[in-house]
């Protein structure tokens, strides 16, 4: 008997014990029961056991319990109960029916153990597991996912990966990840990627990959290393999103931008030409027109025959001048319009020879010396008409603006400068004060010397011709010593501005 009492004591201390009669009315509860259910013993005794029913379990579960014990069999299970304050607790429950001599239960002893903690842990775990599988699902439907082992062998790919790479999962699993390598990125870029993830750090970046059919796609990539306890990666999870369209857009914008800049430059050039033209009209055409109109006004108002004749005599030269300027303008516009003109292979010494024939008289008269060295770059690709014009104007200027103190010496040279030909025409003539005239040097009707034949057209015209062929002209000069004009010829087919 003492032994039984010991058992009872041990049970009371360790378990939650309740006894109900065969109808389920509570006849006994121990302290543990009161503690967990938060009811006092008084409140419990005589109550239906359903006082702690949580309503959590389905009816069938409860029915099965009652059927079992009503049949005199022990029932075991986990039950969720409700305490007095409305909180829930889980108990691992064993219900033992005590049978009367006829084999029918006359009371039930319920022995419970508190498993709320464990249950909560289980619930949390289930929740976490569900969350993880939800995450995995979300990732799988939204991103391109691949898992490789630490050597880079593909172990898992999702559907999106297969779709974009155009390989089936079977073709990919077990393959080296380089199967989708596009070869686009520099070695250093890929090297940095591997160093980062091999050291257990996350890598983020944009990668261009190659699909099975040879087409390329861009992916925004995050590679997360999964680490072992020792901190070393055992696998890499690569999460990618397709940015091919964005990349295409970026490239398109880059191209458009470049085009816009080129158009802008061309427009700026055109605009400069237009401003130049506007100045020409304003300065060079309006001037003579005003003169003509004034002269005619005078002619009409004048009453003296002598004055009439004087004024009349002045009209003709102004009209001639106007015609001349007008023709020059037309000529320069024709150069700008003549987009069909093309370069041809020309020997510089041939051209010089031809031009010098025209200057024979002057050369003799002024005892001029013309020397040339075209050995470094003997040939140019340029319209013949323009080349002759350049030679004629620059040699002509050197003779026209010779120094009164010495015989003219002209030296012409050609050299190659990165595909272009650079011509230089040096003379020992009057020179030009470029501090004063730099900005007007190649403008129409600008002259820099008192010379009866100075018209201010030659340099304007050849600049127009040279620029029409994408070349350039500039000068160096020292007053009293001489000038050197440089002409850069592109040797390319005509490029219209």
């Amino acid at each position: 008997m003492e032994k039984i009492a010991d058992y009872m004591y041990a049970l009371d201390e360790s378990a939650i014990v309740a006894i109900t009669d065969q109808k389920g009315l509570i006849t006994h509860v121990n302290d543990n029961f009161c503690k967990i259910s938060k009811y006092s013993r008084k409140e419990l005794i005589g109550q239906d056991h359903r006082i702690i029913n949580s309503g959590y379990h389905p009816e069938s579960f409860i029915r099965n319990l009652w059927t079992t014990i009503a049949n005199g069999k022990v029932w075991k299970g986990e039950i969720k109960n409700k305490a007095k304050d409305g909180t829930y607790y889980w108990v691992d429950t064993t219900i033992v029916p005590f049978l009367s001599s006829d084999g029918k239960p006359y009371q039930y002893v319920a022995i419970r153990f508190d498993i709320t903690g464990r249950k909560k842990g289980e619930e949390d775990l289930n929740k976490s597991l569900k969350e993880i599988s939800d995450y995995k699902y979300a990732l799988d439907v939204s991103a391109i996912v691949a898992i490789t082992d630490q050597k880079g062998t593909i172990r898992h790919v999702n559907e999106n990966f297969c779709n974009i790479s155009k390989y089936s999962a079977e073709e990919l699993i077990g393959q080296d990840h380089r199967i989708i390598n596009s070869g686009y990125h520099p070695k250093a870029y890929i090297g940095e990627l591997w160093t980062t993830i091999a050291n257990g750090r996350v890598w983020k970046g944009e990668l261009k990959n190659k699909a099975k059919d040879g087409t390329y796609y861009w992916v925004d990539t995050t590679i997360v290393p999964f680490l072992k306890a020792d901190g070393k990666p055992y696998q890499y999870v690569a999460i990618r999103s397709d940015i091919t369209e964005r990349k295409k857009g970026e490239e398109h914008i880059k191209k458009i931008n470049h085009q816009a800049i080129e158009h802008g430059k061309a427009l700026e050039f055109k605009n400069r030409q237009l401003v130049d033209f506007c100045n020409i009209v304003s300065h060079n055409l309006r001037g003579p027109l005003i003169n003509i109109s004034m002269l005619i006004d005078y002619l009409e108002e004048s009453e003296s025959e002598e004055e009439k004749n004087e004024v009349q005599a002045k009209i003709k030269p102004v009209v001639n001048h106007l015609m001349e300027v007008f023709n020059e303008l037309v000529e320069s516009i024709q150069v700008k319009q003549d987009t069909a003109i093309e370069g041809e292979k020309l020997y510089l010494d041939n051209c010089l020879e031809k031009v010098l024939v025209g200057f024979e008289t002057e050369i003799k008269e002024f005892q001029a010396e013309v020397k040339a060295d075209f050995s470094e770059a003997p040939v140019v690709f340029f319209p013949q008409k323009y080349l002759v014009s350049i030679f004629t104007n620059l040699i002509g200027n050197a003779l026209k603006y010779r120094s009164p103190d010495r015989s003219p010496e002209i030296y012409i040279e050609s050299s190659s400068v990165s595909g272009a030909t650079l011509l230089s025409f040096s003379d020992n003539g009057l020179g030009i004060d470029l501090n004063l005239h730099q900005q007007h040097l190649f403008k129409i009707r600008k002259t820099f010397h008192k010379h009866p034949d100075a018209k201010g057209f030659g340099l304007f015209m050849i600049k127009t011709q040279i620029e029409a062929m994408g070349g350039d002209i500039w000068a160096k000069s020292q007053p009293g010593k001489g000038s050197t004009f440089f002409v850069k010829i592109k040797n390319e087919k005509h490029e219209q501005h």
């Binding site: 100045n279 304003s282 309006r286 003169n291 004034m294 002269l295 004063l436 201010g456």
Partner: protein
């Protein structure tokens, strides 16, 4: 009685000079007219006559587009002379240019009183004398 004793034309356009001379003569407003066909010649004349006040003009009609030294370059050099205390010279730019850029540029120069678009008519000349 002349309103302007001494006037200088700086212009390379022969016909314009001829006609302007005639106009000036007709108005009887101007005594002596000196003509220089570029800025440099005019500048040199002024430089050599700095101490002869009566030789310096009261009014200058300055063309812009000229060889050797144009109107802008002349103005730049003229400023350096600092003639203010010596003689009050009124400079009019007188150009065939109708470019707004030229007008704006002229307005920005203190030494320039006004911008006259060619031609110079008798009426314009009278207005100028009035405003002196």
């Amino acid at each position: 009685m002349n309103s302007i004793k001494n006037l200088t034309l700086i212009d390379d356009d022969e016909v314009f000079v001829y006609l302007t001379r005639k106009t000036l003569k007709k108005t009887n407003l101007v005594g002596q007219v000196r003509v220089f066909e570029n800025g440099l010649d005019a500048l040199n004349f002024i430089k050599t006559n700095l101490d002869r006040k009566e030789e310096l003009p009261e009014v200058i009609f300055l063309d812009l587009s000229m060889p050797i030294m144009d109107g802008w370059q002349f103005l730049q050099e003229y400023r350096q002379l600092k003639l203010g205390p010596v003689k009050n010279i009124t400079i009019y730019i007188c150009s065939s240019s109708i470019s707004p850029d030229d007008v704006a540029r002229a307005k920005a120069i203190n030494e320039v009183s006004d911008f006259i678009f060619k031609p110079i008519t008798s009426q314009k000349l009278l207005d100028i004398v009035d405003s002196l």
